[in-house]
Amino acid sequence: MTPQLNAFGSVKKWLFEHYSNDAGKMLLHTGTAGWILSAAGQIFGIVNNDKVSKKEKKFLIPQEIVDAGINILSFYIVTNKIQNVTKALASKGKVITPAIRVFCEKHGIQFTKGADGKSPNIGKSILDKVKNYESVVKVNGDSKLNLGVDEKKIAELNTEIKELNNFYDKTYSPFESGLKVAGGIFGAVLSGNIITPLLRNPIAAAKQKSSLSREKMEHDAAMYRDGKTLPVNKNVGLDAYKSNVYPSGSMRI
């Protein structure tokens, strides 16, 4: 097999291992990847745009990088945090369905905070129970390590394992995943449509103001050097120039 096919096989395997059981993580990561590539495309577009002068590029490229940084960070951080909160609503038993409650009660799975203050983790408890039962069946099956558990109990354990796996796959996991995805959608909308514009517009406006102010200064400086008409005597020193033309204390040359 060629190296390229090997690499492609590894990519497929990696995608399956990481995203076949977690739709929320997939949406978060692909959303972030989309933002990064989109930003890279925008910056590349500016760099290769012949209609934009070098001077303008010096302003536009950093602006686009800051814009992209705000978009990407706000999307990832906000969406990730909200997803984790909504996922925890399911795993800690804060939001459950009758089917989950009945199953947990029947199979002895904690779904409320214990007297020791320990929060439940329903999904983990189910998977741990399955692992434990599977290890009992496996160890008991070993001729040297036989635990003395009779065949009827082993059959019951196998039935229990099947029930737990079935419940996890068909009932619990879609519910937990659904709440996580709902959180992800809310986070994406909040970050993309509210937080990012709120942060981006003042920053862009400040940059525009600074750019226009700089342009005006450069224009006036050029006129001053050429001896053209200015609102001040060209023989006036720089300090007087500053105080007469730009009385605002905040102006700096």
């Binding site: 497929k12 995608l15 692909t30 989309g34 804060k94 369905t97 635990l147 937990e176 709902a182 994406a188």
Partner: protein
Amino acid sequence: MTLNVSIAKINNPTNSAKGTGNFRGLQKDGQGNSAQTFCGAPIELKNEKIIGKINWLGDDFTSAGQRFVSGITALFTQPFFDLNNKKADDDTRTISCARTLGKIVAGTTTGVLIRWGCVEATKKFCKTEATEQVRIEKLEAKAKKSGKTITEKAKTQSEFSKREQFLLPKGYESKSFREIKKYRGAFGTFAAVLIMVVTNFAIDAPLTTYLTNKFSNMLGKDPAAIEGGKK
């Protein structure tokens, strides 16, 4: 290997393994813990429609759907931020709003279509017994609803060529339908993101420019005149 399960309990199960009581306020769960629930009782969703919708989000919601939701909500929020940006002058606000509208419409249209297309295409190259079983069940349900019968060809689960399983990792053919469905969504989305590197320039950028000009004119501003004035 550590066994965290008591063999005695397996051989002699007691009622303490079963949960008792209701769960409003003080309750016992399967571990025999009596605890006041944190911040009151858990919320028990009883509406089957809501539970069904949450499960649908977990299992069937794709990146195309997420892109669509982001785009639609952006249409109702972002232009207002731009139009009400007090730190910019009137012309800048209008052009900014027009550009935002253009970017949202262009970006959402291409983003949704490309993602949906890639995920659908991935289905053709990720066939397994599990996926075929589900496909046939859907066909049978559809046929039953419309009173038709499905052909023998459609009923038969065919063997799969290399091409039909090209996008599936080797050794994963026996995975559950649920896992394969999510993998298809992930693979299709990553492929779409790579394709969009090209379409950003080829389609998005010119479409955004075209739509920006259209929206600017609708808002009563000619972008060429404003740009010319500023230069």
